[in-house]
């Protein structure tokens, strides 16, 4: 029988050359925010492309320690900022639980009467078949999450004795809200206003003092125009999800049936056997024997006697 082993997580970045991914601290996030909302808007306008917030695809929390490389300057658009973050190179990362040695709770058919529930963070509660969990008397069981740290998408594997029993998918990203505004309309309006302001300044005859004054007046006009054309719509690029506060630890719960035992049962009704015999004499001196669908063909017996033999062997049992 071939093992269905857990796959290796792919190494490297699936987004190499397209996206930059950083692990940052809370302080870094504040600094980045400051940078984005810098009062030096013209600076931002020239350094960053049309809409500064659009350079941030997402800010989210991955609920485990992501492996990263050395610190590097965060790049936004075509601007290398002065803010440092740890570059995340491996898109797919995994977290694996401790291993449990789970024994069959009874060591008999009741093992397969158990109900087994598995809770997986960001998936919920799922059913697990006892046949999958109680493969051997002792079972080495663990859970592994393979997570895309850029999107938060993951596949959770339940592994038993090195075999993947089942897998579940979900998303563990906990996005932080990133607010944005329609900067493109701002810029469109501001550029035209700015050009008007420059045009006004240029139209005034040369006068060092007057030129400065006129340029200042143009700038004020631009600012006024900017305010008057300020966008009225703000949007939130990402939403805070309900993932916050979910129970973080997977757990397996085995519900076991409560049987009312009778130590004398084997003398009265026997215990399951389920074997075929070519002659019932094979069971001699083994105590009570009950048969399944026994058909009796004794010669010289009345029909009632044959039926009675069958009834006794199939229901009450006979001591051979």
């Amino acid at each position: 029988m071939s093992n269905i082993t857990i796959p290796q997580t792919p190494s490297g970045s699936a987004y190499y050359g397209l996206l930059n991914v950083y692990k940052i601290t809370g302080a870094t996030l504040f600094n980045l925010n400051k940078y984005l909302w810098s009062k030096d808007f013209f600076d931002a306008l020239t350094k960053i492309n049309v809409n500064p917030i659009d350079n941030i695809v997402s800010v989210h929390r991955i609920p485990f320690t992501v492996t990263s490389r050395a610190q590097n300057a965060i790049i936004l658009g075509n601007v290398v900022t002065s803010i440092q973050g740890n570059v995340i190179y491996d898109t797919w990362q995994s977290v694996t639980s401790k291993h449990y040695n789970i024994n069959k709770p009874f060591g008999d058919y009741r093992d397969y009467m158990c109900r087994i529930k598995l809770y997986l963070p960001f998936v919920g509660v799922v059913d697990v078949s006892p046949s999958d969990l109680f493969i051997n008397d002792e079972n080495d069981v663990y859970i592994s999450y393979h997570v895309n740290v850029v999107t938060g998408g993951f596949i959770a594997f339940l592994v038993n004795n090195g075999n993947v029993i089942t897998q579940y998918s979900g998303n563990c990203s906990m996005p932080l809200p990133v607010s944005g505004s329609n900067f493109s309309s701002v810029i469109n309006n501001s550029v035209s206003s700015g050009l008007n302001a420059v045009g006004s300044a240029l139209s005034i005859p040369f006068n060092p003092v007057g030129g400065v004054i006129s340029a200042a007046a143009g700038a004020v006009g631009f600012a006024t125009s900017l305010m008057s054309n300020a966008p009225t719509t703000m949007n939130m690029k990402t939403d805070n999800s309900n993932s916050f506060g979910v129970y973080p630890t997977p757990y397996l719960r085995i519900y076991k049936p409560r049987r009312i035992d009778n130590p004398q049962k084997k003398y009265f009704t026997g215990l399951p056997s389920g074997v075929g015999v070519t002659a019932l004499a094979q069971c001699a001196r083994t105590g009570l024997v009950k048969t399944l669908d026994f058909k009796f063909s004794g010669s010289g017996c009345t029909d009632w006697e044959k039926s009675e033999v069958e009834r006794i062997l199939n229901t009450e049992g006979v001591i051979l």
């Binding site: 350079n55 695809v57 997402s58 320690t65 215990l271």
Partner: protein, 167 residues
């Protein structure tokens, strides 16, 4: 009136024992009641004490019987009502028959076959296995200062994804 030989026995074996242990053998002749049924014959015997016997064999019928009722007719005359023991009467044939043994006291018991003859409580026990993975969603994450510890496992990781020139 039909006369036949009857052998009386005493047995302590349970009714469902195939080969019963028989003691106190006593051969005598008895008178069968007319219109008797072979599986439930009624026979009258003269004997000093019929109460020591609970089992019988009638060779003419080739069958063993349980003595199900003893009725005193008069002094030393007893009327015995018999019921055929289909097991002992057919023991050789039964022993040689093939069969599927569903339940057995001691023969090839298989504990993985469900036993429908048990009763179960309408209640279950349970046991938990907690698989610590390092995944965390605890309240600390609301305090941004916790993210200042890059890689602190209790707080997860804050990830920012940007577009821009490649690193």
């Amino acid at each position: 009136m039909i006369y036949t030989e009857i052998i009386l026995y005493k047995t302590d074996s349970r009714n469902n024992v195939l080969y019963k242990e028989l003691t106190n053998e006593l051969k005598l002749n008895g008178a069968l009641r007319e219109n008797t049924v072979i599986t439930n014959p009624v026979i009258t015997v003269e004997i000093s004490g019929a109460f020591d016997y609970n089992y019988a064999y009638i060779a003419d019928f080739g069958r063993y019987y349980f003595i199900s009722k003893v009725e005193i007719q008069r002094d030393k005359l007893f009327r015995l009502e018999l019921r055929v023991d289909v097991l002992m009467s057919n023991s050789t044939t039964i022993s040689g028959s093939n069969a599927t043994v569903l339940y057995s006291q001691n023969y090839s018991n298989n504990s993985n076959i469900p036993d429908s003859e048990y009763a179960y409580e309408n209640k279950e026990d349970f046991e938990n296995y907690i698989f610590y993975t390092g995944i965390t969603t605890n309240d600390y994450m609301f305090n941004m200062s916790n993210y200042d510890v890059v890689g602190a496992s209790d707080y997860g990781s804050l990830v920012v994804v940007t577009v821009g020139a490649a690193q």
